[in-house]
Every structure is written in structure tokens, then in C-alpha cells.
């Protein structure tokens, strides 16, 4: 199957500093691809490279199997984008903003009704955008990205700044895009939960480098964990180690967290109780994506590391 996006050796430096390093990325031509990484990892920069807003220092970008550099206008005509901010003209109405996009892309203006329906913005479409809430602006910008049935929709942190209700509505909408509009979605986010909920494929980015990529399920499948609280944690730890279980020290949890190995939760519980421990809580958990994120993007997240990432240009 042709990939919606394929980058080969994509690199970019600004001021002598490598911002994007040799990124080979493949976004399948269906579903939602979640582009995950901390702030400052280079997600927006790569998205800007993919839609031709920046020129790479090295490497190529192909959309739908064709080199973007050779047919930029024709290929970008099949891409809807929402990058960095909603980018709507605030003194115009929502409908007028969509009309501008129709005129520029040669799209029939009747398509406006369809996309406004999709994002539930029909009733407010004739009000100036400056009267909209942030969520309404994001939905209108998404509607604009959906005009003309694009094959690919590029969304850069579309839930940024939204309230919880807005986030949920936006997520539902993004999840529906492939089936309802036939569009592949490239979604960037620094929120694990967000990507986990909507994406089929993920790419993990660290300091401009793609460190993992593949189907979400395959990447996040890990050995299940068990989290335990007892009346005597230190002795319980020793007992569990004696059972041959391996402790998960990366969890940052006050509970005892162990990889379950071949044992079941019931067997571990029985063993602890028979050894005289009062087990107050026992839960089987899976932290697949979170674990992968930690493994690939560094050990224990810290504010210092976070700040260092954010300070990158």
C-alpha cells in the first residue's frame, strides 16, 4: 500500500543546530498516526517540513508516493492542515473564513455546509470569529482543513488550550475522520493519553530524531504489571523478589510495582497472604505506551529535562 507520507533522511538545522535529524518516517494511507514527543522535540518543525512550509537541508518528503519537491502545489491540494494555531481571520465570520479557503483551492462553496455540520459549527458560522471560544475556533479551523475531501489532514496539537469538554469533542472528531471523511490523519501531541486514545500508528520523537515508529498496539504491548500495597512494604518487596518477580523501578510509584512474569494476580495475592501480609490493594496494570515513552525518550521525567527540551528552538 502507498504511504500517505514518507520521509527519507529528513534533516534541518537552524543556526548551526540540528533541529531535525535524519528522520525516516512512514505514515500509512489510512487511520490516525500519532506523532508523540515532548515540547521542543521538533514535532511542529517536521510537520512544517511535510507540508512544504520549511525546506529541508537534506532528505525528501513524499506524499501519496510522489516527491513533494517535484509537485508541491498539486500534492498540497490534497492536504488539509491545522498547524500551530487556528489561523482564522478574526474579523471575518467562520463562514467567510471557509469561503476564502474554497476560493483559493477552487472548491465548490456548497462544501462549506458539509464541513460545518461535521464540526457542529453551523449555528455560529455567521458570527465573527473574534466572538468564538477557543474550542469553536479550533473546530472551525478543522472544518477548513476538511474542505474539499483532503486525503491527508495534518493536525498540530489540535487540543491545545481547550477545556476538557472541548478536548473530548475534538478527540471524538479526530477518531472519526478516517472512516467518515476517508482521510489519513497525522496528529502531533505531547499528551500520551491523547495519542493512545485516537492513534493506530505512532512515531516517537526525541530531540529531532524519530526513535520509534509502528502500530500502537505492537509498540505498546508489554508484560503486564501488578501494583501492590501491604502493611509491610519492605518485607513484601523481599517476598516478591523471592518469588522470582522483577521489580519495575521506573514506575515512580509508592506502591510496589512488579512485572507479573508467569504468575497470575491471584497467585501473587495468595502467596503474600499466606506469608502473613495484609494486602490492602492489588491491581493489574498495563503502561505500555508510557513505558515505551520512558524507555525511548529518557528515564524518569524531570522538570529539568523538560525545561531543557522546551528551550530548544
Amino acid at each position: 500500500m502507498t504511504a500517505a507520507i514518507r520521509t527519507e533522511g529528513l534533516s534541518l538545522s537552524l543556526g548551526g543546530r540540528a533541529i531535525v535529524r535524519n528522520v525516516d518516517m512512514t505514515v500509512p494511507d489510512s487511520g490516525v498516526y500519532g506523532f508523540l514527543g515532548p515540547n521542543g522535540a521538533g514535532k511542529s518543525t517536521i510537520m512544517r517540513l511535510i507540508v512544504g512550509l520549511l525546506r529541508p537541508a537534506a532528505g525528501t518528503v513524499s506524499l501519496f508516493g510522489e516527491n513533494l519537491a517535484q509537485r508541491p502545489r498539486a500534492l498540497l491540494g490534497q492536504v488539509g492542515i491545522l498547524i500551530e494555531s487556528h489561523g482564522l481571520y478574526e474579523h471575518l465570520t467562520g463562514r467567510e473564513n471557509l469561503l476564502l479557503a474554497c476560493r483559493l483551492r477552487g472548491i465548490d462553496r456548497r462544501d462549506i455546509g458539509r464541513v460545518l455540520d461535521a464540526v457542529a459549527m453551523h449555528r455560529a458560522a455567521d458570527r465573527p470569529v473574534k466572538t468564538y471560544s477557543l474550542g469553536m475556533k479550533q473546530r472551525t479551523a478543522l472544518a477548513r482543513a476538511l474542505l474539499g475531501q483532503p486525503r491527508l489532514v495534518v493536525l498540530d496539537e489540535p487540543t491545545n488550550g481547550l477545556d476538557p469538554e472541548g478536548i473530548m469533542a475534538m478527540r471524538d472528531l479526530i477518531r472519526e475522520l478516517p472512516a467518515r471523511f476517508g482521510a489519513t490523519v497525522l496528529l502531533s501531541s505531547h499528551l500520551l493519553g491523547e495519542v493512545q486514545e485516537v492513534a493506530d500508528h505512532i512515531g516517537l520523537l526525541r530531540q529531532g530524531e524519530l526513535v520509534a515508529e509502528g502500530p500502537l498496539r505492537a509498540l505498546s504491548e508489554t508484560e503486564p504489571l501488578i501494583a501492590i500495597s501491604t502493611d509491610r512494604q519492605t518485607e513484601a518487596r523481599a517476598a516478591l523478589l523471592a518469588l522470582g518477580l522483577e521489580e519495575d523501578r521506573d514506575s515512580g510509584d509508592e506502591r510496589l510495582v512488579f512485572r507479573m512474569g508467569r504468575l497470575t494476580a491471584a497467585q501473587i495475592n495468595r502467596s503474600l497472604v499466606e506469608s502473613g501480609f495484609a494486602v490492602s490493594a492489588l491491581a493489574q496494570e498495563s503502561h505500555g505506551l508510557e513505558r515505551l515513552y520512558r524507555d525511548k525518550l529518557g528515564s524518569q521525567p524531570s522538570f529539568e529535562a523538560h525545561s531543557e527540551q522546551e528551550n530548544r528552538p
Binding site: 512544517r48 507540508v51 512544504g52 512550509l53 520549511l54 502545489r73 498539486a74 498540497l76 491540494g77 492536504v79 492542515i81 498547524i83 500551530e84 494555531s85 487556528h86 489561523g87 482564522l88 481571520y89 478574526e90 474579523h91 471575518l92 467567510e96 469561503l99 476564502l100 479557503a101 476560493r103 483559493l104 483551492r105 477552487g106 465573527p128 477548513r144
Partner: protein, 241 residues
């Protein structure tokens, strides 16, 4: 290109730019009406247009309004963060910037027409109402010459102002440039210096205020025509956002 022109014109709807294009050019007319109403004597059209309207426009209103309108045109994209939307459209980027320049030129011409028309209409109306109708022939010909000279002679500053307004997100840079250009132009006028004839703001001013106006029109137009491709080349390479 037609789609771009249509889109750029639609963006002006409800924007501050339209207010700026329509209201300040009425200032010469307002001053003329006030002058006729409050003075005893009967003025001539030469005084009202040749010595008031045209100098007021050339020395002060032209450079400051151009700087402000160009700045607002840049800010339409920057404030809404819409460069990323505009720059991925199917039209080549140079066409987008050329369209913006064309629209600015058109708005400038519209301001000139409004300024001269408001001056003549205000002079006629106030004259008839007070019984002090300005003497001499109504200066329609001078008005047309003023619009043509000022419009063509200002192409260089128009291009520079728009270039700066689109190039940098910070509106202070564009406004500061306009103020600096105006001050230099006024300094040249006050000192009567022969120097700085190459300075674009001076070219625009002299295109209507000096005896060799046509020469300055040609110089302003020629410099503008040189600057346009350079501006387009530079802007289309920039990662505007």
C-alpha cells in the same frame, strides 16, 4: 491570481484598514471647509489645493498612512497566525505577495482620489454655503496629476513598507521605518537640501512638490520596479509564521 485578488479583497472587509483608507483622506476636505467657514476672505483653488491639500498629503499623510496601512496588511496574517494556511495554498507564493502589493497600491490610489475629491467637494460646498466660492478654475486637472504622480512616485516606499511589514512579525519595525522615513523627508524639506534625492520618501514627496516632479516620479517608479522582484524573491524564501 484572480482567486488571490478576490481573497485579499475579502480579507479587508470589516478590517481597520478600510477605516484608515477612508477616514484620514477626508482630513484635507475638513480643514478646507473649516478654513472657508471661519475666514473672511475668499480663497483661491490654488491656495486650497496647491498650497494646503497637496503639501499636507505629500509631507505628512502620505508616508504615515502608507506605513500604517502596510503594517496592518502584514498584521492581518501575523495576528491571526494564518501564514501557514496561506502559504500551503495551490498558488505560487510570489503571486500572493505580488497581490498584496497590488492591493496596497490600489488602496493608496483610492486614498489619493478621496483626498483630492474631498478637498474639492468640501471647498465647493463650503464656498456655496458661505457665499465665498473659491476663485479660479476647479482644479480637476491638478487633482488628476496629483493622483498620478503621487501614486507612481510612491511605488518605492510602498514596496519597502510592505516588505518590512510582511517580513517581520513585529509591527513596531514597520511603523518605526515609516516614522523615520517621514522625519528624514521633512528634514530634507526644511533644510532645502539638494542631497538625498535618492531617498525613496523624498522622491515621493518631490513628485508633487518640486518643479521637476516628473523626474522624481520616474525615479520613484524605477526604484519601485527594481525593488518589487527583490521583495518577491526574498519573501518567498522566508519561513513566515
Amino acid at each position: 491570481m484572480i482567486a488571490l485578488i478576490d481573497v485579499e479583497l475579502r480579507k479587508l472587509r470589516g478590517s481597520l484598514i478600510l477605516l484608515l483608507v477612508v477616514i484620514p483622506p477626508l482630513l484635507p476636505g475638513a480643514i478646507i471647509a473649516l478654513a472657508i467657514a471661519t475666514n473672511e476672505g475668499i480663497p483661491s483653488w490654488e491656495q486650497l489645493v496647491g498650497r494646503l491639500t497637496i503639501p499636507l498629503w505629500a509631507m505628512f499623510l502620505n508616508p504615515t498612512l502608507l506605513a500604517t496601512v502596510a503594517t496592518l496588511m502584514g498584521q492581518i496574517e501575523y495576528r491571526s497566525g494564518s501564514w501557514s494556511f496561506m502559504l500551503v495554498q495551490p498558488q505560487p507564493r510570489w503571486q500572493l505577495f505580488l497581490t498584496k502589493l497590488g492591493i496596497l497600491w490600489l488602496l493608496h490610489a483610492l486614498m489619493l482620489v478621496l483626498a483630492i475629491a474631498s478637498a474639492i467637494l468640501a471647498g465647493s460646498c463650503a464656498g456655496h454655503l458661505t457665499g465665498r466660492v473659491p476663485t479660479g478654475a476647479t482644479p480637476w486637472t491638478e487633482g488628476i496629476r496629483f493622483v498620478a504622480h503621487m501614486s507612481l512616485g510612491s511605488l518605492a516606499i510602498l514596496c519597502i513598507q510592505l516588505w518590512v511589514a510582511l517580513r517581520w512579525n513585529n509591527f513596531v519595525i514597520s511603523l518605526a521605518l515609516g516614522i523615520a522615513g517621514t522625519l528624514v523627508q521633512l528634514a530634507v524639506l526644511i533644510t532645502g537640501s539638494d542631497q538625498a534625492g535618492w531617498f525613496p520618501w523624498v522622491m515621493a514627496m518631490r513628485s508633487v512638490l518640486s518643479e521637476n516632479g516628473a523626474e522624481n516620479v520616474r525615479a520613484g517608479l524605477a526604484l519601485g520596479l527594481v525593488l518589487v522582484p527583490v521583495m518577491l524573491f526574498d519573501l518567498q524564501r522566508r519561513a513566515l509564521k
